[in-house]
Symmetry: C2
Subunit: 501 residues, 2 copies
Amino acid sequence: MSSCLSLLLLLFPILGTLPTANSLPAFFPRAGYYQYLTKESKVINQKIPYKTHYFPQILDHFTFQPKSYEIFYQKYLINGQYWHRGAPIFVYTGNEGDIDWFAANTGFLLDIAPKFRALLVFIEHRFYGESLPFGKDSYNSAETLGYLNSQQALADFSVLIRSLKQNLSSEASPVVVFGGSYGGMLAAWFRLKYPHIAIGAVASSAPILQFDDITPRSSFYDAVSQDYKEASLNCYEVIKGSWTELEAFSAQKEGLHELSRTFRTCKDLRSLDFVWDWLWSAFVYTAMMNYPTEANFMMPLPAYPVKEMCKIIDGFPPGASKISRVFAAASLYYNYSHGEKCFELENEHDAHGLHGWNWQACTEMVMPMTCSKESMFPPSGFDYKEFSKGCKKKYGVMPRPHWITTEYGGKRIDQVLKRSGGNIIFSNGMQDPWSRGGVLKNISSSIIALVTDKGAHHVDFRSSMKDDPYWLRELRSQEVEIISKWIDEYYADLKLRVDNA
Amino acid sequence: MSSCLSLLLLLFPILGTLPTANSLPAFFPRAGYYQYLTKESKVINQKIPYKTHYFPQILDHFTFQPKSYEIFYQKYLINGQYWHRGAPIFVYTGNEGDIDWFAANTGFLLDIAPKFRALLVFIEHRFYGESLPFGKDSYNSAETLGYLNSQQALADFSVLIRSLKQNLSSEASPVVVFGGSYGGMLAAWFRLKYPHIAIGAVASSAPILQFDDITPRSSFYDAVSQDYKEASLNCYEVIKGSWTELEAFSAQKEGLHELSRTFRTCKDLRSLDFVWDWLWSAFVYTAMMNYPTEANFMMPLPAYPVKEMCKIIDGFPPGASKISRVFAAASLYYNYSHGEKCFELENEHDAHGLHGWNWQACTEMVMPMTCSKESMFPPSGFDYKEFSKGCKKKYGVMPRPHWITTEYGGKRIDQVLKRSGGNIIFSNGMQDPWSRGGVLKNISSSIIALVTDKGAHHVDFRSSMKDDPYWLRELRSQEVEIISKWIDEYYADLKLRVDNA
């Protein structure tokens, strides 16, 4: 039986929370649903015009034990082709995956670099990609994983950026940080906590209010459901009804075998849960990736894939089973390039090294989620006790469910940031279910919410395409305009300071 | 031979850096010069109208190892006699000593509490007073001391305040933080890093710019010297010349014995260094405590004690030795109450548990200081290599000299905080040598510098006295006015929010 509860343990979809079909106590999801990614993404990675560097980073910024001083090598990417000394530095605050992948999917920075003559820097998050403090032992236990958290990551960024500017003899360069999803949370928090390092932050699809019940627990799945409902009411209803049909197979003698045939699995299924997860992921990720043009982030997908999925579901002849319809729809997600002869539902491949998110979700990144009766998923609640027991069992430590709001705030954020902070863009597309946990209203004259009805998960950070719709071009140009203002102000402030000295 | 260089290793005068006379490599100072304090300060402590509480605090906020979750009991004091639910909470962010002592010397909060109907909370800093994470083993080694630093302390405050408000069912109460000296640095940083917890900060005599060469290294001792020079040029010259006279004793056969007589020591001196330290401390602390009325913070002292010391020095008959003059002047500091028959120069007593500062000064609180040729102390430089070698030898870890400015900023602070932050008062008195490392100019309409020519070390935080001069009353009333504005704005913002909801 699946449950929305498990979601909070999972990979942040794309960069976040993934659903699981495992019933408790097999509480922790397998690593993810991106097993068909490597072919395309490797091609992209080879094309990204960045040089790789490694920075000797300190293990623990916040204690001063001998061990704290140990060094690991943090990977970062640089493109300086448009830059000159003193010009701006744009830093992507890397999230929970290898940094090449984020660089490949954040073409926006390359697009705008010439205008600003900006240096581009992508910093990998500790414990992801190659930036492993304990090498292959990094994930061994809470003793090593203990150092994987957002505060240490922000301090890494601060130390690295400061050192980089010094090495470039360009300490007066203004730094703007950019991030999407969890990376967007980091970018916003970085501007709030380290305003002396970054003059501004562009936080795309950053659900910084997804914690501690600031945002209703059911909002994420309600938003996913909304996307499908908007595309077609029938489509929404088929998906909503498909779970019961799916479950009926478990009562049948040859149920799993039949399902294996229906889902064209390469091997006979051992459990219904795999199908459950496979479908769930397809629907959630497709909602997040509901981009207006063809794209390949998690998977290659057509423009507006939710609509395409619903077309498939609605296109079946009357009387077709819901299961056959949802399988066909999910195949769009898993097999848009038509390369797959069969599907390996039980074979996961963590192509972008995202599994560290499970640890983060079990310690500080606690985002309780439920499925309401109105969602297209089976209704379910959230049991904190079960959740924390699962975390303790898996990692040996308990979650700190109120820590994020204690450390970074979030409650009554409008009132707080009206009298502090400044220079942040929160961009959200309402197609993206994460948007519900984002900042959707302007807070002050310099803390701005840019909201688009049709946008999906950090669509603004993708490379501009000739077929981009007007609203997307407009969104990006608003961002450029605001960033320009920050930079102009910075240089004007600097000049005033020099003139007065 | 004494050296200004050693200063940065020492207790923050009063709450900070103490001089040492020990030549290298006997690099680390004895704990302090407050050995005659207990009698008076105990009397004061008994009078403070606070109830003592203990909060179960987490050991390490920034890692998630099993050990991080260990609990220690953090002491805090509460006075709720004027408070009602929903009214403001004034929190003193405790610094490097036992919290009772700071409460006893921060009468300002008690004076203004009725006007604001404020709850008063004094939180003890981890590793000081009774708030020892490892009990009597807390200072054993870097393994335990590693958790003593300002970031952990700020997180402690955040967690404790949030929990307290919840327990009081008063989550909408605005919190204003107050702190003096290092506590003032913590208050200012707390407002910058935790604006969601505190709506404003009053940072009195907080030298947040004493790091990383933002403030010239010689400024502290130049300022001390300036105080004496302003009182009397002759006085300054006598002190300046006394060090050579003192050193001449070391060449004499019976020099130490003679000095012991001159300095009325209880036991014969074993080293010139003790005299050196004893004098040095008297001059530095008296400059810091150059209050306009009688006071007893480190020591009981008359009003404007620098002037009184200089009167003593200037009042000797012509031909009197410089040494006899400076001894008499220093006796004002050590024996204003005339209770001492002899002086125990070699017998230290850390009455307020300040010794943890040595660790902090050796890890993150690196404040290089020198004595210029113009100061009244012997000229000396700062050798970082020697300094860090000394720290490594004593504690087993190296200093992180650029960490404070990386974590909290400081460089070009005016430019940075013009576009972020808000609601901070930086108050400084120019008689206080620490003022030179403080924020002395307004940064924005809500980040305000209040500077008084005659003020000494956080004089504004002392209880009001009937003899307080006009400028001091004025300073305090400006502070009250600004705090009122923050609180009014807060409630207005809150009302607007509720009205719009």
